[in-house]
Amino acid sequence: MRKILEIIRKNFKILMRSKISAAIIVLGPLVLMLLVGAAFNTSNIYDIRIAAYSDSYTNLSNSIVDLLSDQQFKVTKIDNQDGCINSVRQAENHICVVFPSDLSVETEGEIQFYVDQSRINLIWVVIDAVSKKVSVKSEQISQELTQVLVDNIAQTKNVLGDKTSVLKDLTSNSADAETKLRTIGDGISEIDLSSNITDVKDLENISKELQAEFNSTGGNFKKLDDLLTTLKTQVSDIQSKIDSASNTLDSKAKEISDLKSTVSSNTLALKGVKDSVDSLVTGINAIQITDVESIVSPIKTKVEPVSTDKTHLSFLFPALLVLVIMFVSILLASTIVIKEKLSKASFRNYITPTSSLTFIFGTYLTNILIVIIQLVVLFAVIGLFFQKDVVNTLANASILLLIIATIFIFIGMIIGYAFNSEETSTLGSIAIGSIFLIFSNTILPIESIPETYRQIFQFNPFILSEGILKKIMIFKVPLLNLTTDLYILGGYILGLFVLLLIVERATQKAYLVRKFIVKFRKLKK
């Protein structure tokens, strides 16, 4: 233990006596946090520059431009479309909005956004911000149009409601008329114009018979005969009229029958119309949502943050913290190891009765102590100037931070042992750190990586560390609920420690011997 403490003491003295190293260790994270804190302690996006172009602006396109020209966006109208697009290429503007000529609700043209997709981290923010503004106008127009439709439907409903009773009366009247016509027809058909005097000849026969009787009696039949003749004529007239009336009746009965059919079909048609109107009214009545806003946006969305933090710094803080720990740990550990390895004193260390494990622990503890110092400075700065509540999460986070730092320190130490010059070691450290950073969620979402690679990169220690730290710092999840994540990180530590031992054994003495052989060969030459 004394040896380990002495190694730590020695490492600290050497680091502190190298002014640049000391400055980097103490001031590096401090400056970084101050800058990042000041820069990202807000949720706004500043200075988005928009270029706008249209062959001919309309009230609608102008109103969209006005909407965009709020404090967040600076809109410049450009004279031609190519100029507008080029201004994005030349990074003068972030986005070029091309409005179709004579943009109106009636025209079918679409608004085109030209974006510089190489600014991949910014572009979705800009598109989102601009689209939001445009969609505000779009929604406003949509609401106006829908309002007209809704009003017309409401008016139709009222009119139909009013006319339904008329239709009902009409149907009823028609039915009545039909009934009446049926009654008339029935009445007509019941008129019996038949007579017992079926034939005038019967009267002649009766007259002849009477005449014969009168002749037999010698009475004066002539007067009766005249009377009978008159009667016969009158009966014949009546018969003729009755026949005529009968014919007329038949004809009218047919007409009534036709009329009845017509009325009947009209009644049916009216009933159909009434049913349709009733159905329409029922349909319109069945429309429960008549609120325009609800029709335009039937599904309302509201993004509710799962944490109470509001600034970019809050969301960035875990990633930033892991970033600082990662680069500091990897670079520091690799630098300390490679400096020790290249140091002329390393040969003397090697020939002392001190195991390499003692040196490994001494180096690790030196690094972890430096990281702790840096984290204390870092949390103090953040707590004092930016986020007071960040200190509250420290109790949970501190253990985790040490675990994370351990992983990256081991990686840095492996790099230090594996390389044979300070330059290559530093390059190796930066390369490894950059790979971890690039294939994390910080620059691009990991979901944008193909599945196979994603499966691999989800075990990126940066992603794991950031994820678990986020859970603790932003969502305030207790450490005990994160056992799976902790097991993975623990596995990392174990694996890296074994690898560290292997690399140290394979390289430390080999390096000294190789250095000696190279020198020997130079002498031989």
Binding site: R2, K3, E6, K10, K13, I14, R17, S18, S343, K344, A345, S346, F347, R348, N349, Y350, I351, T352, P353, T354, L512, V513, F516, I517, F520, R521, L523, K524
Partner: protein
């Protein structure tokens, strides 16, 4: 005969195509200053690093006090001190901090470290520089600090690889004296050097290494007697008509070689007394004024050249 401190038996070490040590047999005695001399690349450093177990021989055995080195690494590390060609300490630590650090790595108690530091600082004369950063020390002081670091564990054997390399003559003398003092305190010293005159005056025994092979081992006197019969007559006259003097001596066949060195001339001969008499007569006859005359034994350099040229 005393048991040797270190026994090296048939040790061979090959780096790639280079046979650095070739069947080396060597016994290093107790409590002596043992020098290994040879040209650069002759395998001196490899031999030293094999002794402390840093380089593992491909064949052969090295034992320390009868125990095989490769099997007693812990003991070797505790009982050996090593001062390599380069200074092995931390430039950003001060003198005391360096000594404390290495003392702790040797597992010494704080009390022992303190007392050792006190003694060592006095010994290497760095008392006034105790709090000075190692990087701010002069090169001689840095060398002394490195030696102090090698002695912090009171080693039984101190191995020094080219301890005077790159030092100016004054600093070299300083270090040579220091090595003597270390040895006088009971620590066996094994050192390598390619500066033969330095090894000659410093070492009790010397091994000559050439192309990975030990050519000869012995005291400087033994080596000189074995490989050089000649003595050297160094003389200086005025006005210094050396060509004429040499011509007068031309009948003396025992003079094997004549060398001009500055204002002096050196005559190499196995019959030094006869030649010296003749020389004095010639000088007198010629009316030359004798400024300086000196009869010397041959140097180790000559022995070395003689041995190497035979190979």
């Amino acid at each position: 005969m005393k048991t040797p401190l270190i026994e090296i038996k048939k040790v061979t070490k090959i780096f790639g195509r280079n046979t650095v040590l070739n069947d080396v047999d060597l016994n290093i005695p107790q409590n002596k200053i043992f020098g290994i001399i040879g040209e650069s690349g002759s395998g001196k450093t490899t031999l030293l690093k094999s002794i402390i177990g840093f380089v593992k021989p491909d064949s052969g055995i090295i034992t320390f006090e009868g125990r095989e080195v490769s099997r007693s690494m812990e003991t070797i590390r505790e009982r050996f001190g090593f001062a390599s060609q380069e200074n092995c300490f931390y430039p950003k630590l001060n003198v005391r901090e360096n000594l404390e650090f290495f003392g702790t790595l040797y597992g010494l108690s704080s009390k022992l470290i303190d007392s050792n530091i006190k003694k060592l600082l006095k010994f290497v004369e760095l008392e006034d520089a105790e709090k000075t950063l190692a990087e701010n020390l002069s090169s001689g002081m840095q060398r002394r600090l490195d030696i102090a670091c090698s002695l912090i564990n009171n080693p039984k054997v101190l191995i020094m690889d080219e301890p005077t390399q790159d030092l100016d003559p004054v600093l070299r003398k300083e270090i040579v004296n220091l090595i003597r003092k270390i040895n006088e305190n009971g620590t066996a010293v094994i050192l390598t050097s390619h500066l033969l005159f330095e090894a000659e005056v410093l070492c009790d025994e010397i091994a000559i290494l050439h192309q990975g092979k030990v050519l000869e081992v012995g005291t400087p006197e033994q080596l000189k007697n074995m490989y050089s019969k000649n003595q050297e007559i160094h003389f200086e006259t005025s006005p210094g008509r050396y060509d004429l003097i040499i011509k007068q001596l031309s009948d003396e066949k025992s003079i094997e070689r004549v060398e001009h060195k500055g204002n002096k001339v050196i005559l190499y001969t196995p019959k030094a007394e006869i030649v010296l008499k003749k020389l004095l007569i010639v000088i007198s006859k010629m009316g030359e004024e004798l400024i300086d005359v000196d009869l010397r034994k041959p140097s180790l350099n000559e022995v070395f050249e003689s041995l190497v040229s035979k190979k």
